[in-house]
Amino acid sequence: MKRLSLMLGLAVATTAAMQSCKMKTAATAVQGDAASKTYVAPGKYDEIYNFVSGGFNGQVSVYGLPSGRLLKVIPVFAVNPENGYGYSEETKAMLNTTNGLIPWDDQHHLDLSQTNGEQDGRWLFANANNTPRVARIDLTTFKTMEILQIPNSAGNHSSPFITENTEYVVAGTRFSVPLGSEDVPISSFKDNFHSTASFISVDKNSGKMDLAFQIVLPGMNLDLSHAGKGPSHDWFFFSSYNTEQAYTLLEVNASQKDKDYIVAVNWKKAEEYAKAGKGKKVPATYAHNTYDEHKQTATSEIKNEVLLLDPKDCPDMVYMIPCPKSPHGCDIDPSGEYIVGSGKLAALIPVFSFSKMTKAIAGKQFEGDFKGIPIIKYEAALHGEVQKPGLGPLHTEFDGKGNAYTSMFLSSEVVKWSLKDLQVLDRVPTYYSVGHLMIPGGDTRKPGGKYLVAYNKITKDRFLPTGPELAQSAQLYDISGDKMQLILDFPTFGEPHYAQACQASLIKDKQVKYYDINKNGHDYVTMGEKKANVVRKGNRVDIYMTAIRSHLVPDNIEGVFVGDEVYFHVTNLEQDWDIPHGFAIKNNPNAELLIMPGETVTLKFSPDKQGIYPFYCTDFCSALHQEMSGYLRVSPKGANVPLKFGTGETVTSVAAK
């Protein structure tokens, strides 16, 4: 036994010293002082907010770092019964699309808003992959404020990356599709299918998004992207795969060529062309949903037109840079000079130089074109290659100290290397199949080089087993020294992809604590219990209800009939931080509500059976929380029961008819 472990240890040490590190046991992974580096004592705050994509749960989760404590789940693209998002009358419109309300999506990447290439703590942008959409989340309320659908797109994958002053958010197609809704054979892919790169403008003050223009590209798969910064400010870079233009068994057919492309887009030029009328306005329907804070209600507008820019009509706007096989990450270093492509299927990491790229363009060092778009000579744009970094380079983040960190999907490790001389400096194992990495601000001009988080796809032996499906995992590394050190595992929701993080101080003190009841502009607000009311119009019944510790007004409602459409408009009269009230009614095939202090939210209930329906507050609010309840009486259609409601009036007996 002893001998075996000695041999094993030796073997591990040798392998680690030689090439990629293969140690896969938890015992050797963590050193003694790891716990003290992540311990945040009760009552103390974490240093960092970490926003993690929810993958197939469609939401965004917020963790504190370095503790890994889950702070909040923000519903964005998936209905959330916990607080009625997508179920309440106010929020249904947020999930509206040209295909009606879609209750689910696949949320992959996040980007925090920036000013001058630094995080400004205002908004968080999120993409929906499946039904292409981009959302904006307000970081004073942690609420989704806006969702914009993207037409002419499928698999909205290289999204929602932003320019360094949040001028634009991009949305690049993963699956090429025909423009518009024409019916064409799949085999006509090369002629009829296109990828698009959509540029969404963001209003400086309000954050309001608008689909400014779409650049039409050849049929291929856009994977990830990042905007330039500093000297490369005017440019956006997208990685691509399947430039073979295959449309079946991509596993084989999209792996034929030894290089795909980084698509370099001069968005400043594109903006000029759009303004100069070089684009073509074409019909395209897409939903634009916005949440009005004053009315506390979302509205959905269907738009009918989009501006398309064709590279043929817009010279110098788009270039291709050859990049070794199937690049995933396309990451720009803090100086804005280096563009790191990560060829998932390549055994090296190509690093391009922005200044060499512009020189190559000026000197027309091209090696042909891809459907009319000039292809820059590989060597002309190349800064150099990181040799033998590991297997399956996927995504690179930066520490602001001249180092890059690349995740290695196949060899399950993080590799640290130097941007200057492209030498590998350090490597640590991950558990297992790491996807994206995240350094707080690691994609900005000012990364915080203290921590790195790896978001893994597979977790086998990391947590207590929970049947066939295990928790996804994030792993926190201390990168403050020369050697990376694993200091924490923490589970995440869904399948985590890209994440963002910033110093807590950027956001913490801006938090809204409650909504001012006097500024509540909801159409169905109840300004005080005196205004509580029940109004019938045909078979629609509007209940103006209030909630405060620890009662609802009204709490007895009669004269409602089977077949009525009952709307409970519940106003939370509290004006105190951290005192939401809940509202649920028995057998309602809907969800509950969580109503924040000073807010009004509406739950629809259409009873189809007579009976007494209790309703109650679901969020424990006071010692008398259990008492915070009431009854709705639903009588048969046509019954002779007058409309009646109240709280605090007890009647000795009322004959039921």
């Binding site: 705050y45 009841i517 219990e529 405060i548 510790r549 009269l573 006071s622």
Partner: protein, 166 residues
């Protein structure tokens, strides 16, 4: 910033006085004493003043000038605040609803106590003996409804009018 550190210092001293077992150092870092609320939380009086002013409660109001005759504008404004923020729990009669009825409140309590209770609710419930006695009776902590100083003063005027003051 200055106000925040003053508040922290005052909280530490208050703790020493009222003693709840934890060390003042640890307590200054508790979220309960978090500075993020400093903008809306009034400064705590010095311990000496607080001890001398039990009847006035705890909070920034140490002296409230009353009007004579009552200010009708303040009454109207106080009434509208009452209807939105207070009526859910307080009747204008002497009957208890969730909280005590308001009839006679201006006889039972000093104006400063009332103003402090409205604007500094949590500290009053935690430390003021009369407020604690009411909590034992009502079993619901009065929600801090975040009235401005003016709104609180107007509500006081409305209470005085409700008590038949002229």
């Amino acid at each position: 910033m200055k106000q925040a550190s003053l508040l922290t210092a005052a909280a530490a001293i208050a703790l020493l006085l009222y003693g709840c077992g934890s060390t003042p150092q640890a307590d200054t870092e508790k979220p309960a004493a978090d500075n993020s609320m400093a903008a809306t939380t009034p400064a705590t009086p010095t311990p000496a003043a607080a001890a001398a002013a039990d009847a006035k409660g705890k909070g920034k109001f140490t002296s409230v000038a009353l009007t004579d005759p009552l200010d009708q504008k303040m009454i109207a404004s106080g009434k509208s605040t009452y209807e939105v923020k207070c009526a859910a729990c307080h009747k204008l009669t002497g009957d208890k609803l969730v909280g005590p009825g308001w009839k006679g409140v201006t006889e039972r309590r000093k104006p400063e106590w009332i103003m402090n209770f409205i604007t500094n609710t949590d500290e009053m419930i935690d430390k003021d003996p009369a407020a604690q006695a009411m909590l034992e009776e009502c079993m619901v902590r009065m929600p801090n409804q975040h009235l401005t100083d003016d709104e609180a003063r107007h509500v006081l005027e409305y209470m005085r009018s409700n008590d038949g003051k002229k």
